[in-house]
Symmetry: C2
Subunit: 322 residues, 2 copies
């Protein structure tokens, strides 16, 4: 993937709106939940966009669905492919099935069996590889060399970014007068899509992305004004281990107001509070924005109306972090 981008490579608010219209029959319109006890704890008014209730258990279905629904008939006939150890693989598999398209997912051998089974259950071909990025990319290239399947990157893809933005589009339709939207950031698909989506509102909410301290390449890149590599990322928020993408960095640089960081302990505390107080299952990555609020990582919010995208709910119930 090249570092040189043209404006044509970057999705816009119009692309997010087109994505919403294109995929309308497929994703759930997830509810926006409130929680007075968490309002009392945090001193703000919270609105949670529950993408943990989304199909395949995460917002990832939106982007994958927009990518697949954007294919020409000829492309769809060839199918799609990706490499993934997590939610994107299952999301692409389901999105492909809904279009009747073939899907191949390259999965590292060390990925949890349950995730591999989920991808297979949605009808995708699973190809195992060694658990290195090099092996994943090589195996994927080999898999598509003959088939001509269209590769759909999990986040550094204009169609995927536009699709992820549809969650925030629904959030601001349901709660139009938000002061701030908080969103987790890893590869940057959700964060950049969200930042685009809220640009249709005037005066729009600020967008603050939140990143684990243990995987803070987006924070460092944002501060430095250039995309910096991820170095030995380590966090319980497994959805945020990936490095910020090229398109994602450019959009975040332009449209995200700030990036803040949170500790592992704060993430686990926030995750547990969401389960206990709201009775919902949220994965560690999804708890990262609330962790920032409870830790005071974002200043000047007292009394404001805060939207939070709860990104997903796929956790291993046998291995909870408390």
């Amino acid at each position: 993937m090249s570092n040189s981008l043209s404006e044509a490579d970057l999705p816009t608010l119009a692309d997010v709106r087109r994505a919403a219209a294109r995929i309308r029959p497929f994703p759930r319109r997830t509810p926006v939940l409130t929680a007075s006890s968490l309002d009392a704890l945090s001193g703000v008014k919270l609105f949670f966009k529950c993408e943990n209730f989304q199909r395949v258990g995460a917002f990832k279905f939106r982007g994958a669905c927009n990518a697949v629904q954007s294919l020409s008939p000829a492309e769809a006939a060839r199918g799609v492919a990706t490499h993934s150890s997590g939610n994107h693989g299952a999301a692409l598999a389901l999105a492909a099935r809904l279009r009747g398209a073939r899907c191949t997912v390259v999965v590292p051998r060390n990925a949890p069996t349950v995730k591999r089974a989920a991808v297979a259950a949605y009808g995708a071909d699973v190809v195992l590889c060694e658990p290195t990025l090099e092996a994943r990319e090589r195996t994927l290239a080999e898999a598509v060399a003959d088939s001509g399947q269209v590769v759909v990157h999990p986040y550094d893809d204009a169609r995927v970014i536009a699709g992820q933005g549809t969650a925030a589009l629904e959030l601001v339709e349901d709660v139009p007068d938000l002061d701030v939207v908080l969103v987790p950031i890893g590869g940057g698909g959700l964060a950049s899509g969200t930042a685009l989506a809220v640009r249709g509102i005037s005066p729009g909410p600020r967008v603050v992305a939140v990143e684990p301290l243990g995987a803070d390449d987006a924070y460092r890149s944002f501060q430095a004004g250039e995309r910096l590599p991820s170095v030995a990322p380590d966090t319980i928020a497994d959805g945020l281990l990936t490095s910020l993408g090229v398109r994602n960095f450019e959009l975040v640089r332009r449209h995200v107001d700030d990036i803040v960081r949170v500790s592992e302990g704060a993430i686990v505390r926030a995750m547990r509070l969401l389960w206990e107080r709201m009775k919902i299952v949220v994965e560690p990555s999804g708890a990262v924005p609330l962790a920032a609020l409870l830790d005071g990582a974002v200043e000047g919010l007292a009394g404001q109306r805060i939207g939070i995208v709860l990104s997903g709910g796929n956790v291993d119930l046998d291995r909870l972090p408390w």
Copy 2:
């Protein structure tokens, strides 16, 4: 409590409707969620009324709120009292606080500290007692002897039953064409209120109550046609350990179509499925109806539209049953 009941002691559908109007400002109108993967597993179309999202985390708030809002000003000035080791104590405490009324809750010494703390946090006076029914009732009688506080029984109370029925009233408003409503049964507050609530629909859904095999006094009473005592009840569904009440038995006998039983293993499997597939936190008691469906305990449901009242979501996240 006497075993001789007059018709005037029994609430009706009209009482459930009056309760709904009386308490309208206070409980959440909880959402009805669907889950296509659970539909596929069970072969029916499921509609989950999510009382795990209710205030204090359980439907119990509805009945307590109706009881407290039904008090005369003079009664309210004296306050309310109950004994409870579980959700009813917290529910009554919050309901009293919302009316500015005093509340005393007698709590057995062996109740979890977290439950005692919840009752106290809602502003109630907590009185500890030995963990026997005799000690609970005696301590409660002593506590109210001087104060004149009105005792609100957790389920064998017409106001409480009418209040619990408001959950099903909302369910059938949102999904008017249900074939069956499944509801857990313990003391019978929720089951009898639900059976009353759906009588406004013609042809109304059948109401089937579901009980753990390890605490099946309602099933045995229903079969025998007389209220039989509970004998050493033992189940993970701690909300269903109590014995069917007098009013509750009479209403169940008249208005519930059937009672079926489920094993402990089926309850845990259903609970885990609700967490994994729907990303919601449901307590064991709340999973009992789905357990019956997955175990085939209710016959002739294939393809039908089934409402399930998910009764609550208060679980100890440090002690999950898997």
